[in-house]
């Protein structure tokens, strides 16, 4: 019975044992996950689809080298990450930059109702958006845009850790970084996203963005 949280592990074990019935669920699951990662890393749909397909092909070509099926997700994302890097080298991309902690720290936090919060970033009134689905869609769209605005060195960490659910150690392994660097980038990336999404997430007037 596959683990409901990480069914890919069981599918990978079965594929290593030659079980063809695990092929389709494995491909469908990773096609979607890898596409999401490459889409948010590359920013171009065509590039993302190409990279996702190249990644899947490489995954199966190298399947005999999968030593630890319990870490199959990290293994697949390491391959995806390498293809993304190759794609970025071939195209124009913004250089990485550092996010300053001071820029992301809350400024003095007023108790007064809306001081310090720009009108455009106030929490949308639930009555204005009665459909929960619509709000979720809007938040997803903002989050995707915010992700794509993050410098790539932060984006890759946040994507792997928070969107794909890899552990901190697995992210460090995939990106070939130390644990401390992963933790620092994760935190700053999260703070930058929080700042950008504050109007959708924070109680109005309580947190200065």
């Amino acid at each position: 019975m596959p683990d409901p949280v990480n069914p890919e592990v069981e599918w990978a074990r079965r594929l290593l044992a030659g079980d063809a019935a695990a092929f389709t669920p494995f491909v469908e699951s990773f096609q979607s996950k890898v596409f999401q990662y490459t889409w948010l890393m590359c920013g171009q749909r065509e590039d993302a689809e190409e990279v996702a397909q190249d990644t899947l092909l490489k995954v199966f070509e190298s399947f005999d080298q999968l030593r630890e099926p319990e870490h199959v997700k990290a293994w697949v994302f390491r391959i995806a990450r390498n293809y993304c890097l190759m794609k970025r080298r071939r195209s124009v991309f913004a250089p990485d930059r550092e996010l300053s902690l001071d820029e992301l720290m809350p400024r003095a936090l007023p108790d007064s109702d809306s001081a310090g919060v720009a009108p455009s970033s106030r929490v949308p009134d639930q009555r204005e958006l009665p459909e929960q689905k619509l709000l979720r869609k809007e938040l997803n769209r903002e989050l995707e845009a915010a992700m794509q605005e993050l410098p790539t060195n932060y984006r890759s960490v946040v994507l792997l850790r928070d969107v794909e659910g890899l552990s901190t150690a697995e992210v460090a392994d995939v990106l070939n970084l130390s644990l401390d660097v992963v933790k620092q980038r994760l935190h700053r990336g999260r703070l930058a996203l929080r700042k950008r999404l504050a109007g959708y997430l924070a109680p109005a007037g309580k947190v200065s963005a």
């Binding site: 979607s32 092909l57 997803n140 995707e144």
Partner: protein, 95 residues
């Protein structure tokens, strides 16, 4: 707001230290002592709690993120390529 304890400014060293470790705190990666230190710092402080809650909500939104655009299904030719690559890898493995 408990202004006697901290002023929520980047210049306050204890605030900065807490602020820097909030992700580790939320991920459960801190020692019980460090965790208690952060809890003590933010306790009874509504703006601090609101900040932590909004950070938590932002992280949750990332967990819940699903691609807005549908993924193209792999065509028959691509499926065939993947199957062939997998079978070749299995043969190498058993050789």
């Amino acid at each position: 707001m408990n202004t006697a304890k901290h002023e929520h400014r980047a210049v306050d060293p204890s605030c900065r230290e807490v602020f820097e470790r909030l992700s580790e705190y939320l991920d459960g990666e801190l020692s019980p002592q460090d965790c208690a230190h952060i809890q003590e710092h933010i306790k009874d402080c509504a703006p601090c709690v609101a900040f932590v809650e909004s950070l938590k909500a932002s992280i949750q939104a990332s967990h819940d993120l699903r691609p807005a655009k549908p993924v193209h299904k792999l065509d028959a030719e691509a499926q065939k390529k993947l199957t062939a690559a997998w079978k070749a890898a299995l043969e190498r493995r058993s050789a």
